[in-house]
């Protein structure tokens, strides 16, 4: 569908470039060429994550796995909300659908599971993606604020469905029995293999979203947000583009859900709570919208902060998260990465020199 002539592609790029207000297309391209928005940081991040498999106790691997799962979720949401301006408050719903699909298909504790572990994870992603596609058709007919509210309601619907339909185990949730097999040659227990799977999934997710951002599809999605009219004039239907992105991100969320289901081998309707969707948005903005690594950074910061606050102030720890959200919204709406870019050492040097040379001094 996206294989059109080169000239038309160029027109799309121009359209995307000229109408984008605060994040112009050219700047995006320049940025993408830099290592910040490329997969290069993986080179520094992956080795320690991999080495940790052998040297870090199970408990901390589990916490690292949580961070990685949320990073995957947040990257997906960032592609949707940052690039496509499709602010979804229902990602937790797809997350939960993936977790439950996996629990029922590959992780059931009574009798033989229907699918093997890996196949179950992929199918969980597919089911979540399929659901996103189905729900996306009516939901994506709406724009902006409508879309946000519709996705919020979508997440709630998933919550009620999981909670009320007996097959899903009600408010108690389901115990999952699947867990990765130990690899004795490398002296790895099942939980360590699980951790390795999470790291690998994270790596793939980074590469996936990096490619998507660079791809023509990514450009189209960006243009569908900032230059919809021009895109339509060039003969592109906007709905399929958005639907493809929504489905894909839903599938990724579902896959992350399958990973989450294996973390403690327990799933519960609360996985679909809208607070989780809200927290994901906090991660995306805190890190930096429409930046490959912004969502990852945001996930690390939010999860780390929550961990600290829960422990220090068990009674009113949510104040901390609330203050963070308000402060970021008011003073750092472009995220920490944007802030950090502005505070590079070179700029600091230039600024200092200028201060010295200032004639007013």
């Amino acid at each position: 569908m996206f294989l059109r002539s080169a000239t038309r592609r160029n027109s799309v790029r121009q359209a995307a470039a000229s109408d984008a207000s605060h994040e112009s297309f050219t700047r995006l391209r320049n940025l993408a060429s830099r290592w910040r928005d490329g997969p290069a940081p993986l080179v520094f991040l992956l080795p320690p994550l991999l080495v940790a498999t052998w040297f870090v106790p199970d408990y901390d691997l589990q916490r690292l796995a949580k961070f990685l799962i949320f990073a995957i979720l947040a990257m997906g949401l960032d592609f949707l909300a940052g690039r496509g301006h499709l602010v979804s408050l229902g990602q937790a719903g797809f997350f939960a659908i993936g977790a439950y699909s996996f629990a029922l298909l590959a992780g059931t504790c009574d009798g033989e599971p229907l699918l093997s572990l890996l196949l179950g994870m992929l199918v969980a992603g597919l089911i979540a993606g399929g659901f996103a596609c189905l729900a996306g058709v009516p939901a994506l007919r709406t724009r902006g604020v409508y879309f946000l509210m519709v996705t919020l309601a979508l997440g709630q619907m998933v919550f009620y469905a999981l909670h009320d339909i007996p097959l899903f185990g009600g408010s108690d949730g389901i115990f999952v029995c699947a867990s990765p097999r130990a690899i004795e040659v490398l002296s790895l227990s099942g939980s360590r293999v699980y951790y390795l799977m999470t790291v690998a999934s994270f790596g793939f997710a980074v590469l996936l979203f990096w490619c998507l951002r660079r791809s023509f599809f990514g450009t189209l999605l960006g243009a569908s947000a900032t230059a919809e009219v021009r895109l339509a004039a060039l003969g592109y239907a906007v709905l399929p583009i958005r639907l493809a992105a929504f489905t894909l991100v839903g599938a990724v969320a579902g896959y992350a859900g399958a990973l989450e289901a294996m973390r403690f081998r327990f799933v519960n309707p609360e996985l679909a709570t809208w607070h989780l969707s809200g927290l994901l948005l906090v991660m995306v903005i805190l890190g930096g919208r429409n930046r490959l690594w912004g969502a990852v950074l945001g996930a690390a910061l939010v999860i780390g902060l929550e961990d600290l606050l829960v422990y220090w102030f068990p009674d009113h720890w949510q104040i901390g998260i609330g203050v963070l959200a308000v402060v970021v919204a008011l003073f750092l709406p472009n995220g920490v990465l944007f802030f950090a870019r502005r505070l590079s050492f070179r700029r600091l040097g230039v600024w200092l020199v200028r201060q010295k040379e200032s004639p007013l001094r």
């Binding site: 939901a139 709406t142 604020v145 919020l152 009620y160 009320d164 906090v282 903005i285 308000v326």
Partner: protein, 290 residues
């Protein structure tokens, strides 16, 4: 299922819908005019309810408490608009969600710090603290529910008058429709925004206060109301008071009847209805066609 049974359930649904309208109407206007996604709107409802309980205890009378709590909610909304909301009007929706999500958490913690996390009940105020007897196989109907329904209807009428018969209403409608044009015509939009925000928040607080003798107060009131209000706004169309009104009634009745007709799907019924409405008319069922 007898006719009276059905009639009573519809009445219950209408009551539910009318209260919902007070919350969703303000929310819809705030969306429409200010363009702000306000997740914290449910928190005003929650504060209205808790203040009603608290102030009734302090002043010894619900009727004395009512004006006091309305002023308090309005002042709170005024402060929030001046201190926070006005800085984010022209920011992307993502930022709105972030700010108001933070406020949801902060306001809930404020509630917990100001009072406690317990459950508290309030009796219906004196002249209405009784029930009407309806008949053999029917439950008595609490008079307070009728009073609340009637009051909400009056308020809805008042809001209709405000929006269609006054300069203020015309300015609001102009702002919803074409904001730049309205500014060009000399309408002071920052002041308008402030007024609409405070009005919306106060209506939500009032809804909470009216519901307290029926529903009692407890932590977590905000989320329940908020999400149903979103559904109402989506179905009714953003910025449309009449849309919100009819959508609220439909949602209220549907929610109530679904519990009798399809008890297994009572939780999801409202959301399925919303999706059906979206497929049919994505701009809101009752929104004006462009």
């Amino acid at each position: 299922m007898s006719f009276e049974f059905l009639l009573l359930q519809v009445l219950n649904g209408l009551h539910h819908g009318l209260l919902l309208f007070l919350v969703a109407g303000g929310l819809s206007l705030i969306f429409g005019l200010l363009g702000v996604v306000n997740l914290a709107h449910g928190s005003f409802y929650m504060f209205g309810a808790w203040l009603a309980w608290w102030a009734s205890g302090v002043f010894g009378s619900y009727w004395l408490a009512l004006p006091v709590l309305l002023v308090l909610v309005a002042l709170g909304a005024f402060g929030l608009e001046r201190a926070l909301f006005r800085y984010i009007y022209d920011k992307p929706h993502l930022v709105h969600v972030l700010l108001t999500y933070g406020l949801v958490l902060l306001l809930d913690e404020a509630r917990s710090l100001l009072w406690d996390d317990d459950v508290h009940g309030l009796e219906a105020p004196p002249p209405f603290a009784r029930s009407l007897e309806l008949g053999e196989d029917l439950p008595d109907y609490p008079v307070w529910r009728l009073v609340v329904s009637g009051f909400c209807l009056l308020l809805a009428l008042g809001l209709w008058w405000l929006s269609s018969r006054t300069r203020f209403g015309a300015a609001v409608r102009a702002g919803v429709e074409r904001r730049e044009m309205a500014e060009g015509l000399g309408i002071d939009t920052p002041r308008l925004f402030l007024l609409v925000f405070v009005l919306g928040a106060t209506l939500a607080g009032l809804a909470g206060a009216l519901a307290t003798p029926i529903a009692s107060v407890y932590p977590g009131l905000d989320a329940q109301v908020l999400i149903l209000s979103f559904v109402v706004v989506v179905v009714g169309g953003i910025g449309s008071l009449s849309g919100a009104f009819f959508a609220a009634l439909v949602i209220g009745v549907a929610d109530t009847l679904a519990r009798d007709l399809v008890p297994a799907f009572a939780g999801v019924a409202v959301y399925l209805l919303m999706f059906a409405a979206l497929v049919w008319r994505p701009e809101g069922v009752l929104a004006k066609r462009n």
